[in-house]
Symmetry: C2
Subunit: 254 residues, 2 copies
């Protein structure tokens, strides 16, 4: 039985709580949150606290708070030589306080309220300072996910950065697409099959081979017409910068 304490009941903390609750080999010793409100729905089924200095004995302490607070939270723990991990993609394990053993348990997924996720398919990146801790984290990760990876702090930072492009930035491309549709009284849903197909193609083709469009062809006429058509200056800027990057990508290698 792996005893865990979850520290912070935001998006990731809640998803971890839900996933761990279903496991027979994991017991949630306590859930900490800064404020009482988030803890209320859990109070009947689990030990909760708003006092960070009052955590029970456990095998793994999982800090699932904001990136900026991880260092501070870890130094507030009244614990010694325990395994303390965080769930952040962009913070090195070195940011954790030295009085405990350090590690990371990073589920590589976008967690929003109102959207459910299948944890089994979420890649989990783990890191620890020694083999025993790594083995324990592997065991916990493999209990919830079929895709577990040993990843260094440096690599994790790069994954997190790549995730900003493939998730945050591609979503913003959808946002711009929706704004253009709305402005021209076209339903955004008309683009849904295209959006899905763009992703489905990646099962068979690399992004490099899947690329299409005027920038890839260096079709200057179409790109200039598009820029004239765009009414929003920020959209124009995005169009120019990404088109230039695509043209350079293919200009270099063709």
């Amino acid at each position: 039985m792996i005893r865990v304490v979850i520290i912070g009941l935001g998006n990731i903390g809640t998803h971890l709580y839900n996933a761990f609750s279903e496991l027979k080999n994991v017991s949630i010793a306590m859930v900490y949150n800064r404020t009482e409100t988030a803890l209320l729905p859990l109070k009947n089924s689990i030990n909760t606290t708003t006092d960070i200095s009052n955590l029970p004995n456990a095998d793994i302490y999982i800090i699932a708070t904001t990136d900026d607070s991880i260092s501070n939270i870890s130094s507030q723990l009244v614990l010694e030589n325990k395994l303390v991990v965080h769930t952040s993609g962009s913070v090195a394990i070195a940011a954790l306080n030295d009085k405990n053993r350090k590690g990371s348990f990073y589920p590589l997924q976008t967690f929003s309220k109102g959207a459910t996720v299948n944890f089994k398919e979420i890649p989990i990146c783990i890191e620890a300072e020694n083999n025993a801790d790594e083995t324990l984290l592997l065991q916990l990760a493999e209990s919830v996910s079929n895709s577990v990876h040993k990843i260094s702090s440096e690599q994790r930072k790069s994954i997190h950065l790549a995730a900003v492009f493939v998730n945050n930035f591609s979503n913003h491309m959808y946002q711009v697409g929706q704004e253009i549709c709305e402005e021209n009284k076209v339903p955004f849903s008309i683009l849904s099959p295209l959006i899905q197909e763009t992703v489905t193609k990646l099962h068979k083709l690399s992004p490099y081979d899947a690329q299409t469009g005027p920038a890839k062809r260096n079709d200057i006429g179409t790109m200039q017409r598009h820029l004239t058509q765009l009414t929003n200056n920020t959209h124009k800027e995005i169009y120019s910068v990404i088109s230039k990057s695509i043209t350079n990508t293919y200009g270099k290698k063709l």
Copy 2:
């Protein structure tokens, strides 16, 4: 029976040929292509030609050539008062030669060689100058697709532009993500569930509500660390421009 002539056997022309071939209410009177090579696999099953001045009688002539060539091709047709349509998202029907009736038959999808598509789910945007032609195009479109839309030339141009963002540009975000992964010896496939989830979320949430990440939170520390981390100047530029646009989007409305 709707008799069609397909003019140009590139990506779209080939996909249309394959889709129409399976229909009982559509007969392909001829396929034209500038060069013989592309026509060779069809020669046994269908009439083909490389002579644009030698097209048979038909109900609809579909020009599926590059955007820049549509106007020129349409003026080479030795036809009068026939329904001639093109398949381009970015060209107005006004670009077609005046000696024939004009229209558009625009399948809104990304067509690559090596990727098969289910035509039934592809939105088709049609446009014609009069009701009879519109009815005929509707009939043809509804034979291959469950999602047919009457769309003006202006609207079609805006859809095509929005498609550049949601398809071409989001694919380039995957390309950048892959480059970052490769540089750090991380398998790009680790990002696949995240990429899929970003799209799946759109079934329930608008892009506006689905947005996450440092730019949305205006988390300046993380954004500066990311910019330092990026080694490629073009990637830095993309990161800055899109982050600024995201921050502005949420700064305005929150």
